[in-house]
Symmetry: C2
Subunit: 553 residues, 2 copies
């Protein structure tokens, strides 16, 4: 039996476009003489469609698109994910298409409702196992999370008899370390059921999420035999052959696809794809961003240039009297290195007029923190005005560390449409800078930018370290508190300094309102700000006050 995994980049809601891509892969699969062509979870409508699933007409259109796909592709068996509406219940389903019609349907039984997933908001779980027969091989259908809990899967399949293959269609988003977990799950599953496992994953960026593809086949020993490309479309084909002794062999028909070289390369590719897809899928060609000569905007610009072409990026430096000649010239040098457009718009005259106007308000301080932030807000205004004028998307440049502690100006440097490195801690941003220089084999990001002490340059001689702990320490605290939901007590027990832990937690908690008003960015860690971490703004709980429940006594 020859199986093809059609790992394609679907767009949420683009029923016609997604169908067109699948028809293209169907044509290739015909050429390759496959017996079974597989597409990802909810491939018909894209993943996650969120509250589009509350629109009855969306579900109807989704069904029409599926029927049309069946009619257009009658000569092979196709398995494809779609949102099924049946007798007023909705299911996350996999249709089996044969001879121009849907001949069978499997309904996802395990609906994830944690992290970024809200599937119990939309779907009813299926309870019926579905086994199809292709060329004499028995194939059990599963969808994504169905295989992540081996006990539930065993329970689902307990009465189906021997199977030669488990088919899994997925929309499994990327985060650091996810591929290893995924391979473990798939390997364990194949071994447990002593069968091959064909895993077809989605690829592409969708708002905060990047689906990394990397569809794969495992043989019945649990060995991952073939893997599709990462962060790109691919049609992965293999021959699956049961042997006399009950072993299921898997033989790919192509040489192995190149894979990311290490963790930083993987993250970099996720950021490039996430930026490209958010931009293009939302109808933008051009982007612009503020270039400060600092590491964050430099890395953001380099990622954008790779994702969209440097000719589509406009960098703007907006110096005030507090910006050093060094950072201004580094911004320009970076733009030149990347080959992108560059503009200098000094903000000093605007700042002066603002300061005069605000002095009308009794108590206005021309040297205080509001004045500092005003500079960032003027820059935000300039970027949004140019975006408005030219139809370009504004990329923001804040990293995860500063997003966490609110070391940013609301409606200032947070103003824009997409936050490329929002989920990258500052220490990772440095590694990305080095990676960018390494893969381009030249100093794209000037050495000064990497070695200079970070500064917001909003007052004379300002340094990040005036307000924040050392980034190594800050990022360690943030990983524990934000990503792992540890308490202050646990972090201090683990050897982190108590005062700084408390200070950081206080900053994180107090800045929820600010994060809520930041543009979406690409999730690369196991817990990003956004759908992953849903905290109330109004919240008096403190994770460090040991006697808080009796504080009013």
């Amino acid at each position: 039996m020859r199986v093809a995994l059609g790992q394609f980049n679907a767009v949420v809601g683009d029923l016609a476009g997604n169908a067109q891509k699948m028809r293209g892969m169907y044509a290739d699969a015909l050429q390759a003489d496959v017996d079974l062509l597989v597409f990802p979870e909810l491939a018909v409508c894209g993943y996650p469609p969120e509250d589009l699933l509350h629109k009855k007409h969306f579900l109807q259109d989704n069904r029409l698109a599926l029927d049309k796909l069946a009619a257009d592709c009658p000569d092979k068996t196709i398995v494809v994910g779609f949102a099924e509406s049946h007798q007023d219940n909705n299911y996350n389903s996999a249709a089996v298409l044969q001879g121009g019609h849907q001949v069978e349907v499997y309904r996802k039984s395990m609906l994830p409702n944690y992290g970024v997933f809200d599937e119990q908001r939309y779907f009813i779980p299926g309870t019926r196992p579905v086994v199809i027969d292709i060329e004499g091989a028995k194939i059990a259908m599963t969808i994504c999370f169905d295989i992540w809990n081996i006990d539930s899967l065993k329970n689902l399949l307990k009465d189906v008899g021997p199977i030669q293959m488990i088919l899994n269609i997925s929309a499994s988003p990327f985060h650091i370390g996810k591929i290893t977990k995924r391979q473990e799950i798939i390997s364990r599953c194949a071994k447990e059921f002593n069968c091959a496992l064909s895993y077809c994953n989605l690829v592409g960026g969708q708002d905060e999420l990047v689906f990394d593809g990397r569809s794969m086949f495992a043989d019945s020993s649990g060995k991952i035999v073939a893997g599709a490309r990462a962060f790109d479309e691919d049609l992965l084909i293999a021959d699956i052959t049961p042997t006399i002794d009950g072993v299921i062999q898997v033989a790919p028909t192509q040489p192995p696809a190149p894979q990311p070289v290490g963790r930083i390369d993987e993250i970099y590719q996720a950021l490039v794809l996430g930026t490209r897809d958010y931009t293009h899928k939302n109808g933008f060609t051009k982007t612009l961003l503020g270039l400060s000569g600092g590491i964050d905007s430099s890395v953001t610009a380099a990622i954008a240039a790779d994702a969209l072409g440097p000719e589509n990026i406009l960098g703007i430096t907006m110096p005030s009297k507090f910006n050093s000649p060094d950072t201004i010239s580094d911004a320009e040098r970076l733009a030149k290195n990347l080959g992108m457009e560059f503009l200098t718009i000094p903000i000093e005259p605007i700042l002066k007029r603002f300061d005069e106007a605000l002095s009308i308000a009794p108590g206005w301080d021309s040297k205080g923190i509001a004045y500092e932030n005003l500079q960032a807000r003027i820059r935000g205004c300039i970027l949004m005005s140019l975006s408005n004028q030219f139809g370009s998307l504004v990329l923001t440049t804040g990293n995860k560390s500063e997003t966490a502690v609110g070391y940013a100006t609301l409606y200032g440097d947070t103003a824009g449409g997409f936050a490329v490195i929002k989920d990258a801690p500052k220490t990772l941003v440095y590694k990305l800078a080095e990676h960018i220089n390494k893969i381009s084999a030249r100093q794209i990001i000037p050495a000064d930018v990497i070695t200079r002490l970070p500064s917001a340059e909003l007052r004379p001689d300002q340094k990040d370290s005036d307000s924040l702990p050392d980034y190594d320490l800050l990022d360690e605290i943030l990983k524990g508190y934000v990503e792992e939901d540890k308490s202050a007590h646990q972090l201090v027990e683990a050897g982190l300094p108590r005062d700084i832990v408390h200070k950081v937690i206080r900053m994180v908690d107090r800045n929820e309102y600010k994060r809520r008003l930041c543009p979406p960015g690409i999730r690369i860690t196991p817990k990003a700000f956004g759908k992953d971490r849903r905290l109330p703004i109004t919240n008096r709980y403190s994770s460090f006050d040991d006697n808080k429940y009796s504080a009013h006594d």
Copy 2:
């Protein structure tokens, strides 16, 4: 049996503060010699705690606070909601406290996971009915959604035998029409089980939500016998007496609390409480807002003045050359009428410098839409700068109609911390204006403000009607499309003009990114923008293109 419903205003995460309020009500209940004192769903930690529930230390602190409450209040039976962690599972539970200890616990069986609710993200459903005995009466415990599906409730209680009362602790948020539904459910439930029903609801604002209180008692005929105050704390007490013929009588010990007079008054009270609680619970005393002399900012200011006291509101008018003398003087008159502080900061000099600076960018148009929006962005900068300087919360003034179609400037008039009338359609804003004048028995909001044609005043002679359909029509389309998830086809079938329906739907869909970056506001309709309506930004689905699934053919 004497039952007291302790309807109090909890703050999410404020374990000590919530406990203190409950101890206060316990003291009152002792005085009133009640047998049973009831507090709302998750009263210990506030509702909804969202991802705080992912913090183990939060769950532990929650348990400690409950134990301390039990110890502090040993002399009466108390039922109180808390987040229970038991053997690595979390439950939305009601504890029964007696003699200083928890003696029983009921776990919510129906977990809402729709609209603004995400309870399946956090909790496992309970399956065990709990009946307690107070003074010989059998009382079945339920939590909020448990009573909304009568069949599930019958199933839960099928083996418990005869009961004299159902107790329901709730955190049921307000929206227009909700109270009627709630009364129906409670009445049906009491009749069905032929018992009294004691319903204790939360009160208070929490981010987008306002809990309206209005706890109540129903007798076994289904009659609502007593109701607590709306949008305020209250301790509602009644005597519940089984008679010989199986009827359960309910007799309140107090005269009935005054209730809102009609739909607009109810909405107005919700907005006042939502504004007060968001402001105070987040640590602000002072607020500020831009006053344009238009209806939206006038109504927002009046609500804020009622909620916070006019001495805590600063209104700022920021005229450009496009603002008419009439609107400027109306802004000032409104501020005087309300007795709030008022400031005029002209933006013309700043606008001029911005325009000069932006002219550095080839293609900048000093008369285009970006220039129009720049005025709004300058105003946003001024308000945020003053907020920053004075520690005041910026209230934004956008209504639901303009929020829906994106008739607002991102990081301009949308810049701020809290959006008071974000869920009020424009046609409702006019009704609120009239209501405000009516209840104050004078022309707080100047007549001109109500009768003048709405305008953003960003270019000469601009009117909202240049860009938008008539607000009556717009609001009708938005109700169908946004709140009821109808398709263009359905709206046109219902008699709405096709071209305008399509135009409006296109505007709503395209502006998801903008809404995502607007501050939270008070939910008053059955579907507000926010947690209620979760649509992808990246979304190519169109609800009006009848052949979209084959558009690429």
